[in-house]
């Protein structure tokens, strides 16, 4: 086997389906060829790292959260009676929250053109940001995500974001404050907050975004039912 053939087959050596003869041919060549040996070792270290990712574990209470979400949004046969009762309440003027899943879809995929952007920085700057005001709904005592989009027209370095939660909302960790510092990429950047409804009402998450001594505030409405 020559260098060209070896380079074409070098990844194949690490495949479960590769034959013994294929593996032997590549290994025999790399033992005597410095340049192919380097490629072989690169491939080996990349794949051993990639394959070590397999041990990821779903977060604690993943199944419980999923089952609650399904029960709230779709309902199992045994839940349908309760669900019907809840819908009845909505009919009589009590607000009814759409499931968190539906809220997320709206947040992620709604067309930006239809929303009113809130300017964060002066338009004269090369870079500017825009956030969007939306309202999400959550059940009290349940967890969900609030997604805050930051749209940047250019890469921005050293941006900091501080977020304070109102009385009716708490982070899933139990805290009331979250912060982040880093660089924003051009385009959409997303901050995800895992929160839990604490008490009913219409609440406003407030945040401050800072860069180079300038700052701007933004709010995010959340309805807890």
């Amino acid at each position: 086997m020559n260098c060209k053939e070896t380079k074409e087959k070098i990844w194949r050596v690490f495949d479960r389906e590769a034959s013994v003869s294929e593996k032997t041919a590549v290994r025999e060549h790399v033992e005597g060829c410095k340049s192919c040996l380097r490629l072989y070792r690169q491939a080996e270290s990349i794949l051993s790292t990639v394959r070590s990712f397999e041990k990821a574990q779903a977060p604690e209470n993943f199944t419980e959260r999923l089952m609650n979400r399904i029960a709230q949004t779709y309902g199992y046969p045994e839940d349908r009676k309760k669900r019907a009762g809840r819908l009845q309440m909505a009919k009589y003027g009590v607000s009814f929250a759409v499931g968190v899943a539906a809220v997320l879809l709206v947040l992620v995929f709604r067309s930006p053109q239809k929303e009113a952007p809130v300017a964060f920085f002066s338009p004269s700057q090369q870079a500017s940001l825009a956030g969007y005001e939306r309202t999400s709904s959550f059940y009290s005592g349940k967890e969900g995500y609030v997604r805050i989009n930051l749209n940047s027209r250019a890469e921005l370095e050293n941006v900091s974001v501080e977020i304070n939660l109102p009385e009716g909302l708490v982070l899933a960790t139990g805290e009331k404050y979250a912060s982040w510092r880093g660089n924003l990429m051009e385009g959409r950047n997303v901050i995800l907050l895992r929160v839990r409804g604490a008490s009913g009402g219409e609440w406003e998450i407030s945040g401050t975004l800072r860069k180079d001594g300038q700052e701007t505030n933004f709010t995010r409405k959340v309805n807890i039912i």
Partner: protein, 186 residues
């Protein structure tokens, strides 16, 4: 599919909550692992994994036992992963974890300075930056341990396409990592 799993699936198809929960428990780590490899963000990965199982809940009645349940589930999941990668357009969007992450000082001898976790994170990030059709092929084969044939059924493409996507994905990974680890183009 073993006999027990078949029973559990039948129960879940009849609307049994406990059986559906058992299926979720069996596959949640795998689905979450793939989501995490795609998003590089724990919260977003959980959301995608939940979307996969919601889709399973809505479609489980359509499973007809003609293929393996796991391959069928992965085909459902693949569409969710594919939608995610298509809609997020990762060249202009990413999720920001709330905790600050520190930049890496790789220096002259990166391998000597970086510990295993740091190397893992860099490779993980690189995997998220290559086009989705290639990253998903690498994820299915190298992380999830699926065979060429299973991947072919999941992505509904011929085996030759599967092999070339895995190969191309790995080569792109090597190119991405070359700048960091000092790999030379040989």
């Amino acid at each position: 599919m073993d006999f027990n799993e078949k029973d559990i699936i039948k129960d879940a198809q009849s609307g049994n909550r406990e059986s559906f929960g058992k299926i979720v428990d069996k596959y949640k780590d795998k689905i979450y692992g793939i989501s995490l490899a795609l998003t590089k963000d724990k919260l977003e990965a959980e959301e995608i994994a939940q979307q996969v199982f919601i889709k399973l809940f809505k479609n489980i009645g359509k499973f007809n036992y003609r293929s393996s349940f796991s391959t069928w589930l992965y085909r459902l999941a693949h569409n969710t992963f594919y939608d995610y990668t298509r809609k997020t357009n990762r060249r202009s969007s990413r999720a920001i974890p709330i905790e600050k992450t520190h930049g890496l000082d790789v220096g002259d001898n990166p391998y000597e300075k970086l510990n295993r976790n740091e190397i893992r994170r860099i490779v993980f990030d690189a995997l998220g930056e290559i086009p989705h059709e290639f990253s998903l092929a690498v994820i299915y084969y190298d992380i999830d341990g699926r065979s060429y044939e299973e991947i072919s059924q999941i992505i509904e493409k011929p085996m030759g396409t599967v092999k070339s996507r895995i190969y191309r994905g790995r080569e792109l990974l090597r190119e991405k990592l070359g700048n960091i680890f000092g790999f030379e183009n040989v």
